[in-house]
């Protein structure tokens, strides 16, 4: 990567972070500016956290179960690369809800029964999924466009139907609004039982099909070759997604239920590479975000609960992205830093060794002084870079400072240098002998790989090149050693 794009990335990063901090600043400022959003006192916090209220307990149980199960199923959705399908499904439930309401309101005079509305939502969610599949199958329209079309058209239909409901003499559409924005606080015991039993069923189905889903997510072709009905499994997985979306409608609302499916699963990916642990973690993270969200919304009753749950999940995601032990930014940055440091150190040691070799100091066993300037011409490195490397090597006890800008190798450094140069030259010889690369070219090729050669591979190389005859000595370079050409 060249310097310009580095600069561009840095600038982008800086401006993004500025924007984000501005966003958070305004956010927190406006939270405090309003008198209605004062911090709750300690008593309230304890009361909410210890689940003393019956209502809090119900809401807590319902949403946490929802968060856990959606985290679990979301893992498969993420691995199947269909995350945004859940967004389409959740939007597609709106016309079903509205239509069910209209039909039952006019037929029976009572349309606001939760199971019926959820059944309507389920049917229209499934219909939306079917439409996406049909468009994908019968036209050249790509996946993403098909998702966007179904999402927006069905949502538009739903909104038109809601304006129809607003005109109904008996119906008040205010009750339907909770399915759009979610209203966890209004959950009754009855609703909680419904949510709990459905989440348990979904979880059981997910566990029963765990192995099949795993194969489906990682290798569809393998699944087919093993005789698994991949299409049917896909439909089962997507149906589970629809069910989760539908029962999540009441708690977090159809606009944000997708977050519960995507965010915990994506956050769990930063912690582990193993599917089982991933799945477990995603379940836990989903439950935690829901718990934090519900607690916060119990403390700030004026704020919408669904949105707070999602923000809690985003916070969990951000923390996972930074601190995750497997793919987190910090750990990756650290390993990358260590690797570059090692590469730099090995380059320096090899340069020193080769300098001693070419200057004849090695053969004559004379005073092995290493002047700074001689090493500077050895590779294309800048003065500052090399000074930094020398300082580091002295600190690590590989070299010692004899006079100003004159160094001498320590025993430890000498041993390491020999090993590095030996690895380099064995690989060069391998390239010349087996890969038919011209001796003038091998230096750079070996340069790229010598730092990551494993001991086992080195033993194989030794056997292959019958390097045993060298013992542990360093073979002579197969090509002419020359200082790097300086860039004019």
């Amino acid at each position: 990567m060249d310097k310009r794009s580095h600069k561009l990335i840095k600038r982008t990063f800086a401006s993004t972070i500025t924007c984000l901090s501005l966003l958070f600043f305004t956010f927190s400022q406006s939270l405090y500016a309003e008198n209605s959003f004062t911090l709750p006192d300690m008593q309230d916090v304890i009361r909410v956290l210890s689940l003393q209220d019956y209502n809090t307990r119900i809401v807590f149980l319902g949403t946490t179960a929802l968060g856990a199960v959606s985290g679990m199923i979301g893992t498969f959705l993420l691995l199947r690369k269909r995350s945004l399908l859940s967004d389409t499904i959740s939007h597609a439930t709106l016309p079903g809800i509205a239509l069910t309401f209209i039909i039952f309101e006019t037929l029976t005079g009572f349309g606001k029964s939760l199971p019926l509305l959820l059944l309507g939502a389920l049917l229209s969610g499934l219909a939306g999924m079917g439409m996406v599949i049909l468009i994908r199958k019968h036209s050249s329209i790509k996946d993403d466009a098909a998702l966007a079309i179904v999402l927006s058209v069905l949502f538009g239909l739903g909104i038109s139907l809601i304006t129809l409901i607003q005109q109904m003499p008996t119906g008040n559409a205010a009750g339907l609004e909770q399915y759009i924005y979610g209203k966890a606080a209004s959950m009754t015991t009855h609703d909680m039982h419904l949510i709990l039993s459905i989440t348990i069923i979904v979880a059981i189905v997910g566990i029963l099909f765990y192995k099949e889903f795993a194969i489906l997510c990682f290798d569809v072709n393998f699944a087919v070759s093993q005789g698994l009905p991949s299409t049917r499994l896909d439909i089962i997985l997507m149906s589970l997604i629809v069910v989760i979306t539908v029962i999540g409608l009441q708690a977090v609302g159809l606009l944000l239920v997708v977050a519960l499916l995507i965010i915990p699963a994506a956050a769990a990916r930063f912690w582990s590479e193993r599917l089982f642990i991933n799945c477990l973690l995603s379940t836990i993270l989903g439950a935690i975000s829901c718990f934090i969200g519900i607690t916060c919304s119990a403390l700030f009753p004026k704020l919408p609960a669904g949105a707070i749950i999602v923000l809690a999940a985003s916070l969990v995601f951000a923390l996972s992205m930074i601190f995750g032990t497997s793919r987190g930014l910090l750990i990756r940055f650290l390993t990358h830093y260590q690797l570059t440091q090692r590469v730099q150190r090995q380059h320096l040691l090899r340069a020193c060794y080769e300098h001693l070799e070419t200057s004849g100091a090695l053969q004559n066993k004379t005073d092995p002084d290493i002047p700074f300037d001689a090493i500077l011409t050895h590779r294309l490195w800048s003065k500052q870079e090399l000074e930094h490397n020398f300082k580091k090597a002295v600190r690590e006890g590989l070299l010692e400072l004899k006079a100003k800008n004159v160094f001498r190798m320590t025993d430890n450094g000498w041993g390491q240098a020999q090993r590095v140069v030996r690895n380099h030259r064995l690989w060069e010889m391998y390239l010349i002998e087996y890969a038919d690369i011209a001796p003038g070219q091998v230096d750079r090729d070996a340069d790229a790989i010598e730092h990551i050669l494993e001991p086992e591979l080195m033993h194989q190389l030794e056997d292959l090149l019958q390097a045993g005859r060298y013992g542990l000595k360093v073979p002579t370079s197969p090509h002419k050693l020359q200082p790097a050409e300086l860039i004019p």
Partner: protein, 295 residues
């Protein structure tokens, strides 16, 4: 049903908004980035809310800046998460826009104490009441016309770059056109369109205006210029048919089916998206028949 002058203005405004959205939308589809339209239309909510909170009024320029910043932020953040976090692109977008939208909902809840701002209005807009704000022509119509002109000019000026970045990003970058930059520019334009349209059609329905006409045109033709012109035509048709359905067809049929009820017009913006969806299905069926393929 009786056709009032206001109906003409509603159809005209809807058509202008749909047409101006259809232009960047077609390129979004070609970039295989359609869901970015979805993401942006959600994510501009905090931008708008912060603009409201900071200025304390509903000035269009503050909204525009807020939405544009939020739109670019969505694109950049999802790119960062995708690249540095190694998350699949769809999921990265989902994480970003859900978080921003949630933040926007909370901010709007706070702002609603100060400024009159209804989340419903942001989500599904009120084209019927928006056109009432009148001076020779309704304010929103003028706004939509200006947006369309801006889109036409920008697409005309950067036609070559946009086309190249959409069809062959590697060639574009080899020729020095910087497809990544064009992608962000397109995102910004989408955000501007979304904020211009949100007051009248609502932010979710913007997605339909962005994607569906372009997708319909893509079924009919494979020539980019024809696609762009067709998407404009389909957008205008969807606005007209949608409004007719809203004020006449839907209330009439529901009154017919549920005897004794007296429904009047439903949301025009909602029916415009339904109409664009119907146009899409119609074109899909026609193209299947013309190619002698089974439906």
């Amino acid at each position: 049903m009786s056709w009032q002058p206001i109906d003409t203005w509603i159809v005209l405004t809807g058509a202008l908004i749909a047409m101006s959205c259809a232009l960047p939308g077609s390129f979004l589809i070609l970039n295989r980035n359609s869901m970015m339209g979805d993401g942006i239309s959600h994510a501009i909510l905090p931008g708008i809310a912060i603009a409201f909170l900071l200025t304390g009024s509903r000035d269009w320029y503050a909204m525009l800046i807020g939405a544009a910043v939020a739109g670019i932020l969505t694109a950049i953040l999802s790119r960062i998460i995708e690249r540095f976090g190694q998350v699949e692109s769809g999921a990265a977008l989902g994480v970003v826009f859900c978080s921003l939208f949630a933040m926007g909902l909370i901010l709007i809840r706070i702002a609603s104490d100060k400024v009159h701002l209804d989340p419903n209005c942001v989500l599904y807009g009120t084209i019927e009441t928006a056109v009432v704000d009148f001076r020779i022509v309704p304010y929103v119509t003028l706004q939509a016309a200006v947006t369309l002109a801006l889109n036409l000019i920008l697409i005309f000026l950067f036609y070559k770059e946009l086309r190249l970045s959409a069809f062959d990003p590697s060639l574009a970058s080899a020729l020095g056109f910087r497809p990544e930059f064009m992608r962000y520019a397109l995102t910004t334009l989408t955000a501007i369109n979304a904020v211009m349209a949100f007051e009248s059609v609502g932010s979710i329905l913007v997605i339909a205006m962005l994607i569906v006409p372009g997708a319909t045109a893509l079924i009919v033709s494979h020539n980019l210029k024809v696609i762009l012109i067709l998407s404009l035509i389909f957008a205008a048709m969807a606005a007209l048919i949608g409004h007719l359905m809203a004020i006449w067809f839907v209330p009439y049929s529901f009154n017919f089916m549920l005897s004794g009820s007296h429904f009047s017009a439903v949301s025009s913006a909602g029916m415009m998206t339904v109409a664009s969806g119907l146009l899409f299905v119609f074109c899909l069926i026609i193209s299947r028949i013309r190619q002698n393929l089974p439906l």
